[in-house]
């Protein structure tokens, strides 16, 4: 498949949007603005998928990430009322910023070195498309076929994972109604005394 001029232009535009969004996520001090930058990034990625003829992935990217996950992130930010700018002047750990800078620079250097030393086939992505899209079969069919043959076990395990994650989330959000004063140090070792089952708060 040849790359057309349109695809180059779209790629360049989206690359700028994706990177600017990612930068915005860490740059903005207001969590809502950071989340909106994340939307830009995810949307850019979706368009990049389209550019590579992966329409299904693009649609799912928008539906799942921009349409659901970021909405939930925003929901939680608004619900908890933490949409205020953070004070970034204080350093909880002394010197953490310097260390973070050094590590970030190191990783960035490694990535850049890897890409520049990697030769032409790495930059062009030639290796990574070995198992790629067949043009005359629809995306969904190809993905479905892979999911239900080669990766069927992973799919089923994911089902268990999601179920148990839901259970964990429910347990986390349930809480006993009587909030006792927190026990003293090392209390986690105390033999728990037998108690009657506690009443729970009813949320409705």
């Amino acid at each position: 498949m040849e790359t057309t001029a349109v695809e180059y232009v779209v790629f360049a535009l989206c690359a700028v949007i994706v990177l600017a969004g990612a930068f915005g996520v860490i740059w903005f001090r207001n969590p809502v603005q950071a989340a909106l930058s994340l939307v830009a990034t995810l949307f850019g990625v979706a368009v990049l998928f389209l550019n590579m003829n992966a329409q299904f992935l693009a649609a799912v990217q928008v539906i799942v990430y921009t349409g659901a996950i970021v909405v939930l992130i925003l929901f939680v930010i608004m619900l908890l009322g933490v949409d205020v700018e953070e004070d970034l002047e204080e350093e909880p750990l002394v010197g953490q910023r310097v260390i973070a800078l050094v590590i970030a620079a190191g990783v960035a250097g490694l990535v850049v070195a890897g890409v520049t030393l990697g030769g032409a086939d790495l930059v062009s992505g030639a290796r990574s498309v070995t198992g790629s899209i067949v043009d005359d079969v629809s995306n969904i069919e190809q993905i479905g076929r892979l999911l239900f043959t080669e990766y069927v076990f992973a799919l089923e395990i994911t089902a268990v994972l999601l179920t148990i994650a839901v259970i964990a989330a429910v347990v986390m959000s349930r809480r006993p109604s009587e909030v006792e004063p927190l026990p003293a140090e090392n209390a986690s070792m105390e033999p728990p005394e037998p108690m009657e089952p506690e009443a729970e708060e009813v949320f409705d």
Partner: protein, 412 residues
């Protein structure tokens, strides 16, 4: 948005034949289509505003708008002009940029959604709705991406951002509450919407809106009934889709987002002038688009018998007639149904619609498997129905035992 779609359509030889080779004429036709759709949607929205007010007045034994033009039909225009000259207030505490951006975010998905809706063409006798404009074959729809239905879901999931950001950026509490409600409600009903749309995808075997209409245009069950999605999916997904679609639109009886008695005006409390008008228009435009989607998925889109004259014209007529039914339905809902309580809304979405949509999807899937394996459809259907009822009973029991447990503990 249109560039990537065009790019992707160039490669696979599916979709609108117009885009198989792109030249000046093709681009011109696409631009023409964009203009026509834009103009049509705006006019339809104006009509809808008037229609809703007039119809509700009739249902409530009032007269309604009657001064601007014959039957008050120019009332919307008058309102629009008035809004335009009102003072535009941007609150001090607002997040200015987002505050300005939000109305457009509400407005844009409604337009984009219409891009994949087929609104005309002749689907009779094996025709696939092709029309010829300036010597080029094309469909009467702006774009026919192979993922049409997913595009619809994606755009409707983006619609939440308008309401959400409007409420947040206003910097006051009622709008914020409204937007929190909006996001919870729309995310909740998104799942039911998607699952019931998936049922249509399952029976028609395609995600492209155009192929979906084509496959619904043939002869249906027993050769008498139309081959519409509403019949192929045995009705239930249609009901779920209509309910979930109404909730997505935040229209009554699901208009908790802007419940006047509780939240003043909800997410658009702080908006005034033309920005308020944009929200207002977006809401009605979304209503029209959603009706068009109902028609495309479940009622065969523009397909229908042609009597005289050009066939494509009948496609447009049938489409408009079918859309009108749903517009009437939405107004009817508004005039007659009281607003739901918040917990009822969530219970309906999570405990009724989503399990039902999922269960029904599985029943349809088992019928498909039965056809593929040449098993007896009726036996498989009966077994699937029994399993569905059993699952529903289990769900009901566990919901009840959970509620009983909580009630018991409250009494302790």
């Amino acid at each position: 948005m249109s560039a990537p779609f065009a790019g992707s359509l160039l490669v696979g030889q599916t979709g609108d034949p117009l885009l198989f080779s792109v030249d000046a004429v093709a681009v011109g036709i696409v631009i023409l289509k964009v203009l026509v759709i834009f103009a049509l949607l705006l006019v339809a929205t104006m009509f809808m505003v008037w229609f809703e007010r007039k119809l509700i007045s009739d249902m409530q034994n009032r007269i309604g708008p009657n001064l601007a033009g014959p039957f008050g039909i120019l009332q919307t225009l008058a309102d629009g002009i008035k809004f335009f000259f009102k003072e535009d207030v941007i609150p001090d505490k607002s997040q200015r940029k987002v505050f300005i951006l939000a109305p457009y975010l509400a407005f844009v998905p409604a337009f984009l959604l219409f891009a994949v809706v087929p609104f005309g063409g002749d689907f009779n006798g094996g025709n696939d709705g092709m029309v010829t404009i300036f010597g080029r074959d094309t469909y009467l729809q702006l774009a026919d991406p192979p993922i049409g239905v997913l595009f619809i879901l994606a755009m409707s999931s983006l619609a939440v951002y308008g309401a959400m950001l409007a409420g947040w950026s206003s910097g006051s509490k009622y709008p914020l509450l409204g937007s929190v409600r909006a996001s919870a409600q729309m995310v909740s009903y998104e799942a039911a919407l998607g699952l019931s749309a998936a049922a249509v995808v399952l029976v028609t075997g395609t995600l492209s809106t155009h192929s979906m209409v084509t496959s619904q245009a043939g002869d249906g069950p027993w050769g008498v009934l139309p081959n519409w999605g509403i019949l192929l999916t045995l009705g239930v997904p249609f009901v779920i889709f209509v309910i979930a679609g109404t909730a997505e639109l935040n229209r009554p009886p699901f208009d908790l987002v802007e419940a006047e008695q509780e939240l003043v005006g909800g997410f658009h409390t702080e908006y005034s002038s033309i920005r308020f008008a944009l929200f207002f228009l977006a809401e009605f435009m979304n209503t029209i688009t959603m009706s068009a989607i109902f028609v495309t998925l479940f009622l065969g889109g523009p397909s229908g018998p042609a009597f005289f004259g050009p066939g494509w014209m009948w496609g447009v007529i049938w489409f408009l007639a079918k859309v009108f039914i749903f517009l009437f339905m939405f107004v009817w809902f508004r005039a007659t149904l009281p607003r739901m309580r918040y917990d009822q809304l969530m219970d309906l979405g999570w405990k009724v619609l989503i399990p039902l949509a999922l269960g029904w999807f599985l029943v349809l899937a088992s019928l498909e498997v039965a056809d593929a394996r040449q098993w007896n459809r009726w036996v498989v259907g009966a077994i699937a129905a029994v399993v569905l009822v059993g699952g529903a009973a289990l769900l009901r029991k566990s919901v009840r035992s959970g509620a009983a447990l909580r009630a018991e503990e409250v009494l302790d």
